[in-house]
Amino acid sequence: MAMEMDSPKPFHVDVGNLLAFNPFHSFPSLPASRDELVKECLKEGSKLVQEVADSLFNLPSTEDVDGPLVKLPPTTTKLPREKHLPKPKPPTKWEEFAKKKGIKKRKKDKVVWDEQTGTWKRRFGYDRVNDDKDIPIIEAKMTDEPGVDPFAKRQDDKKKRVEKQEKNRLQNLKQAAKIGALPSHVQLAATALPITGTQAPPKKVTKDELGNVAGMAATSTASGGKFDRKLPGEKPAKKQGKHRKFLPVVEGSGIGSREKEQTESVLNKLISKHSHEILNVNKAVTMYNVKKEKKARSKRNQEGKSSSTTNKLKPKKQLHKKTGQKKGGAGSSKKGKAK
């Protein structure tokens, strides 16, 4: 089993990876038995490992609790990355402005001296320094309009400022997302589809509702959707066939019996038993009002035309006409009640 090896042994050693590579070894003829092969491989392997260990143990080490700690040199073998290189965050609009103007960030304290109470209060949060609700009096200025509530105005102003800030923040993040440098914990999600036709946003339909829509439409067909062509994967409707409700066969005949109620309501509608329910109040009211108006008009006319002749001498034509019409109608409030 003649093996060829380079006498000066230039192995490729990468201490950063604890890697050693011997590119000069070869098996001109495979060893006869497996054991021999294994032994040969182990021998070569141990030589390489020894080589790495030589360089490793000669590195400067610091003493630690568990043992000597060694700082590994950076690796020399190049391996592909698993994720792309992170892009640096682009400066926000404020940061660009600040750089141009030379504005430097100033470190703020967590507590601020409050003149009003004479204590140190938080800058923000519970019980803070310049809280809106702590202002007792706002002096009126010449520029103030009379009907405006200054406290409400302050709150509105603050809300507007907060909204503006949120809008700016969103714009900054969108800009970062455009170049692919969105911070890892932030996600931008579209909340609504772009508005195309009507201004109303599309109503959110639940999953169950969507599943039932086809079934609901099926009941409007004559056969209750039994012979409709179904799409592959479509589940059968929950309530198949026509939706019909039948009364129970056996039931008490007291006040609550449904069959009695059913027949009673039908009959009442036909015979108009409870005619006060049948009264069309709106129509009656308009009729009464019209009558009254005409009466008033005629009175004025009569007064205008001839003051001497009284109403009593004038023929009462209108009353007759009106009563004739009223009989044919659904019934009036005065006449219909007697029964």
Binding site: N17, L18, L19, A20, F21, N22, P23, F24, H25, S26, F27, L30, R34, L37, V38, C41, L42, E44, G45, L48, V49, Q50, V52, A53, L56, F57, N58, S61, D64, D66, G67, P68, L69, V70, K71, L72, T75, T77, K78, L79, P80, R81, E82, K83, H84, L85, P86, R169, L170, L173, K174, S184, H185, V186, Q187, L188, A189, A190, T191, A192
Partner: protein, 314 residues
């Protein structure tokens, strides 16, 4: 209309930041899964690879019919799993008559398939079949030595690719400092022929030798197998260039109060806070101290008296 979604709890934020791309990468997680049919040996191989990489590996035990790494459409499931488990190397095992005991080792870049190597496993010996002194057994998660032997790894394309993939798979976490007492395992890969590699896992025994460097002795403990290279797919050139990009070395983190000058070299500023001499408690009330103070007071009084006299006289 866009909405900004940020995690509401610190735990979720930390998990997201762990998965974010980093400038310097530390070790890839491995995904071990299987195809429609596996053999007994293949099951053992997969579970032992999982044991070897316990800290940074995910094992799926169900069969996946729709994964075919070498076909164009059969990678979507793999990419989805890689995205969800945040794994960038996968080991996919399957068994068929044409390719018995097949292992596909693959890597991902940005959760898309980067390159693949298909090997067949022969002459597999599991951990149980080795007898050794149990005290030497390597511990989980220790950084291994990796040794490649053979000119095949240099000359044959497929073996060169396999060497790269095996290095990526077998090396542990990329660390800056390492404890020399914790070195206890080594992987030896020998190129037996132009398409066969003998891979074995050994425990290290450090023996006393004359110098600082101990003598290394390898004892076979772990699984050993013959890998026969069947197919492989190299990454396309553009993708390879992008994946090999490294960030330029960052300027060292700025140390506070230290600045460097061209002429004078490194300059440091030391800020000494005001000493509150009056507030410092005296350590001992020894009689001698009291006497000193008495004498000092007397001296002061004399000085003041003399000053007053001077003023009066002037």
């Amino acid at each position: 209309m866009m909405k900004i979604k940020t995690p509401r709890s610190g735990r979720v934020r930390r998990a997201l930041e762990k998965r974010a791309p980093k400038l310097v990468e530390t070790g890839k997680k491995t995904l071990i899964l299987q195809g429609t049919k596996t053999s007994g040996t293949l099951n053992e191989v997969l579970s032992e690879i999982y044991h070897l990489k316990k800290g940074g590996a995910v094992r799926f035990t169900r069969k996946n019919d729709n994964i075919r790494p070498f076909e164009s459409g059969g990678e979507t499931s793999l990419e989805f799993f890689s995205l969800k488990t945040d794994c960038s190397i996968f080991v996919y095992g399957s068994h068929s008559k044409k390719r018995p005991n097949n292992l596909v080792l693959g890597r991902m870049y940005d959760h898309h398939v980067y390159d693949l190597v298909e090997v067949g496993v022969e002459n597999f010996k599991s951990i149980e079949s080795f007898t050794y002194d149990k005290k030497m057994a390597p511990r989980v998660g220790s950084k291994p030595f990796v040794a490649f032997v053979g000119e095949g790894f240099e000359n044959v394309d497929e073996l060169k690719h396999l060497k790269e993939v095996l290095l990526d798979l077998l090396r542990g976490e990329v660390v800056e400092n390492i404890n020399l007492a914790g070195l206890d395992r080594a992987y030896v890969c020998t190129a037996i022929s132009s398409n066969k590699v003998y891979l074995t896992h050994c425990a290290l025994r450090l023996k006393k030798s004359g110098s600082v460097v101990p003598r290394m002795e390898l004892v076979e403990v772990g699984p050993s197998m013959d890998l026969v290279v069947r197919r492989h797919r190299l990454p396309n050139e553009g993708l390879r260039k992008e994946a090999m990009k490294t960030a330029k070395d960052q300027p060292k983190k700025k140390i506070k109060n230290v600045s460097s000058d061209a002429i004078e070299g490194t300059i440091g500023k030391i800020y000494i806070p005001d000493q509150k001499v009056g507030d410092v408690a005296l350590p001992n009330k020894a009689k001698g101290v009291k006497r000193e103070r008495r004498e000092a007071k007397k001296k002061e009084a004399n000085e003041r008296a003399s000053k007053k006299q001077k003023e009066e006289s002037e």
